[in-house]
C-alpha cells in the first residue's frame, strides 16, 4: 500500500546535539498514527522537520511520493500538511472567525488589486471563505461562540479547537496534532477524541503527538515510539504496549536488567 508521508533516515542535529537520528516510518492514507515517547524525545522536533520549520540535517521526507524536505513552510501547507502547536499559537487579537479565515489563505487567490477593487470574483471568494469558516467552526464545536470574540479571550479548550479549525481551513490531507488534549479533563478529552474521529471520517490522515495514553490507545491505528531521538518501536497500540523497550523507556529498566 502506498504511503502518504514517508520519512527515510531523517536526522536533525543542532550544532553537535543530535535531536533526531535515523527516523524511518510511513503514514498511510486514512490512518491515525500516534507519535509517543518521553518528554524531550524529539516528537515536536519531528513535526518541525516535517513542516519545514527547519530542514532535516540528514535523510528525507516525502509527501505523496514527492520529496518535500527543504521546501518553505507555506509550500508544505499548500501541498496539504497542516499542524497545531503544543503551546497554542493563535492570532490572539484577531477574532475567532479571522483566525480560521487566515487558514484559507493558500486555497484562495485574491491579491492586492482584487482586494482593493472588490471585484465580483473577490467578493465571491470572500463569501466562500466565510462559508467554509462557519462550517469549520461548527465542525469543531465552536458554532455557539460569538465569532467576533478575540481568540485570546477564549477559554483554553476552545483555543485548542479553534487551532484545529484553522489547520483544517487549508484543506490538509495530513493533519499534525501536537498534544491536542494536554491540560484537559476527561470530558474534554473525550470531546476531542470525537473530533479527531470526525476529522478522520472526512478523509484526513492524522499524525498525533500525545501523552494521554488512554486517548492514544483508543484513537490510533498505529504508534511510533521515539526515545532520545531514535525510533525504538512501531506497531499497533497492543504490540507497542507489550514491547519491553517501550516499557523500559517509560518506566525505567527492571531491577534484574539494571544489575546485569
Amino acid at each position: 500500500m502506498s504511503s502518504l508521508l514517508s520519512l527515510r533516515k531523517v536526522g536533525k542535529s543542532f550544532g553537535g546535539l543530535s535531536a533526531l537520528s535515523g527516523i524511518t516510518f510511513d503514514v498511510r492514507p486514512g490512518e491515525i498514527v500516534g507519535v509517543i515517547g518521553p518528554n524531550g524525545a524529539g516528537k515536536t522536533t519531528l513535526f518541525n522537520v516535517v513542516t519545514s520549520v527547519f530542514p532535516p540535517t540528514a535523510g528525507e521526507v516525502a509527501f505523496d511520493g514527492e520529496r518535500i524536505s527543504g521546501l518553505p513552510p507555506h509550500a508544505i501547507t499548500r501541498r496539504g500538511i497542516t499542524r497545531t502547536f503544543q503551546n497554542i499559537r493563535l492570532f490572539s487579537s484577531m477574532t475567532l472567525e479571522e483566525n480560521v479565515m487566515v487558514g484559507r489563505h493558500c486555497r484562495t487567490g485574491a491579491g492586492v488589486w482584487r482586494g482593493v477593487l472588490r471585484t465580483p470574483g473577490q467578493r465571491r471568494e470572500e463569501r466562500g471563505i466565510r462559508g467554509k469558516t462557519r462550517e469549520l467552526l461548527d465542525l469543531v464545536g465552536l458554532s455557539g461562540v460569538d465569532r467576533e470574540r478575540t481568540a485570546g479571550s477564549l477559554p483554553y479548550g476552545h483555543q485548542r479547537r479553534l487551532e484545529i479549525a484553522r489547520a483544517l481551513a487549508a484543506e490538509p490531507r495530513l493533519l499534525l496534532l501536537d498534544e491536542p488534549v494536554a491540560g484537559m479533563n476527561d470530558a474534554e478529552t473525550q470531546d476531542v477524541f470525537g473530533l479527531i474521529k470526525r476529522v478522520q471520517s472526512l478523509g484526513v490522515t492524522i499524525l498525533l503527538i500525545e501523552h494521554d495514553m488512554s486517548l492514544v490507545m483508543k484513537a490510533c491505528d498505529r504508534l511510533v515510539v521515539i526515545n532520545f531521538g531514535r525510533k525504538i518501536a512501531e506497531g499497533t497500540p497492543e504490540e507497542v504496549r507489550d514491547d519491553p523497550q517501550v516499557i523500559e523507556a517509560y518506566l525505567g529498566a527492571a531491577e534484574g536488567d539494571a544489575d546485569a
Binding site: T51, V53, P72, P73, H74, T77, R78, T82, R83, F85, R89, L90, F91, S92, S93, M94, E98, M101, V102, G103, H105, C106, R107, T108, A110, G111, V112, R114, G115, V116, R118, Q122, E125, E126, I129, R166, A167, A169, A170
Partner: protein, 313 residues
C-alpha cells in the same frame, strides 16, 4: 471668502501630506516591520518628481507617478536584505539608509543641486491656474483671489490623494492580503504554518510603504516648489514614527489622526510660541504613558460605531 486664507490652506495641505506619510509607516508596521527609512523614500519621490519636471518638462502627474514607483522599487531593494533584521535593528538599518541617501543628495551636485536643492519646481496650484486661465477661467468668477485659488487647488488635489490612499489601504486591510499582514505581525511562525509566504508579504508591505512615502514626497515637491536635503533628515523620519506612536498603529485611522493632529497643534499654539513644543512633548509623554497603543485603536473605533448606532440622528 476671507476665511480661505492661504496660510490655513497650507497648514491643511501639510496635514494631508503628513497623513499619507503616516499611512506609509502604518502599512509597513502592519507586518511587524518598523521602518525609519520613509524620509529617505520620500526624498526619492520628491527629487524624482522635481527633476523630471524642472529638467525634462515632464507633466506633473507623470512625474508624481514616476517618483512613487521609483520609491516603491527602491523599497523592494531595501526590503529584501531588511528581511534578515527585525525590531530595533531594522529601525536602525533603515534610518541609516535614509541618512546615506541624504548624503548622496548633498554630494551628487550635478544631478541634485547639492545642499541647495532643487528650486522653481512647477507648483500644482499655479499650473492648474495657468491651464484654466488659458481657457478663459478666472478665480474671480468664484469670488477668489489668485493666491486663494492656488492654495485651494493644492489642498483639493492633496485631499483627493489622501482619500484615495486611505480607502485603498483600508480596503486592503480588510482583504485576504490584509489578513496575511496581520497574521505575520501577530505570529510569524503560525502565519507561515497557516500557508502564508512570509517573505513575499513582508517585501510587499515594505515596498508599499516606500511607494507611499515617495508619493507623499512627490506631492510635497509640487506643493512647495522647492526641495532640499534638509527636508528629509532623520527628524522627518522620527516625526513620521511619532504620527503612528501618537495616533496608534493598529488601525489606519490612527496614524492619519496622529499626523493631522500633530501638524495642527504647533500651528494652533503659535500664540504661546516659546512654550508650544514643551506642550507638544508633554502631550506625547502623556499618550505613551496612558495610552501606549496610541489614541486610536480598534476597540475605540468599535465603541464609537456602536454609540453611533444607538443614538440615531
Amino acid at each position: 471668502m476671507e476665511w480661505l486664507n492661504p496660510y490655513h490652506l497650507q497648514v491643511a495641505s501639510f496635514m494631508l501630506i503628513n497623513a499619507i506619510l503616516g499611512v506609509s509607516i502604518y502599512v509597513t508596521l502592519s507586518t511587524g516591520q518598523l521602518s525609519l527609512g520613509n524620509a529617505g523614500f520620500m526624498s526619492i519621490g520628491a527629487y524624482t518628481a522635481a527633476l523630471l519636471s524642472t529638467q525634462h518638462h515632464v507633466p506633473i502627474p507623470v512625474g508624481i507617478l514616476a517618483g512613487s514607483l521609483l520609491a516603491g522599487m527602491s523599497g523592494i531593494l531595501v526590503g529584501i536584505p531588511a528581511l534578515r533584521l527585525s525590531g530595533v535593528y531594522l529601525a536602525i538599518a533603515t534610518l541609516g539608509f535614509g541618512e546615506v541617501l541624504r548624503a548622496v543628495l548633498i554630494n551628487w551636485d550635478s544631478l541634485t543641486g547639492g545642499a541647495v536643492g532643487v528650486a522653481a519646481i512647477p507648483q500644482m496650484g499655479r499650473v492648474i491656474l495657468a491651464w484654466a486661465g488659458d481657457r478663459g477661467f478666472s478665480p474671480r468668477s468664484l469670488g477668489l483671489q489668485n493666491n486663494q485659488f492656488i492654495s485651494l487647488t493644492v489642498f483639493l488635489v492633496l485631499l483627493l490623494g489622501t482619500v484615495l490612499t486611505v480607502v485603498f489601504f483600508l480596503r486592503l486591510s480588510r482583504s485576504r492580503v490584509g489578513r496575511a499582514y496581520a497574521a505575520i505581525r501577530l505570529d510569524e511562525s503560525a502565519a507561515s504554518a497557516a500557508g502564508i509566504p512570509i517573505t513575499y508579504y513582508k517585501v510587499l508591505a515594505f515596498s508599499q510603504g516606500a511607494l507611499l512615502s515617495g508619493f507623499a514626497g512627490a506631492l510635497f515637491a509640487h506643493s512647495t516648489s522647492y526641495v532640499s536635503p534638509g527636508d528629509f533628515t532623520y527628524h522627518r523620519a522620527v516625526e513620521i514614527l511619532v504620527f503612528a506612536v501618537f495616533g496608534g498603529s493598529e488601525h489606519i485611522f490612527g496614524p492619519v489622526f496622529g499626523a493631522a493632529f500633530l501638524t495642527v497643534v504647533p500651528e494652533a499654539l503659535r500664540s504661546i510660541s516659546d512654550y508650544r513644543y514643551i506642550l507638544y512633548g508633554l502631550l506625547l509623554v502623556l499618550v505613551v504613558i496612558y495610552r501606549p497603543q496610541g489614541v486610536i485603536d480598534p476597540a475605540l473605533l468599535r465603541r464609537l460605531r456602536r454609540s453611533g448606532r444607538e443614538t440615531p440622528a
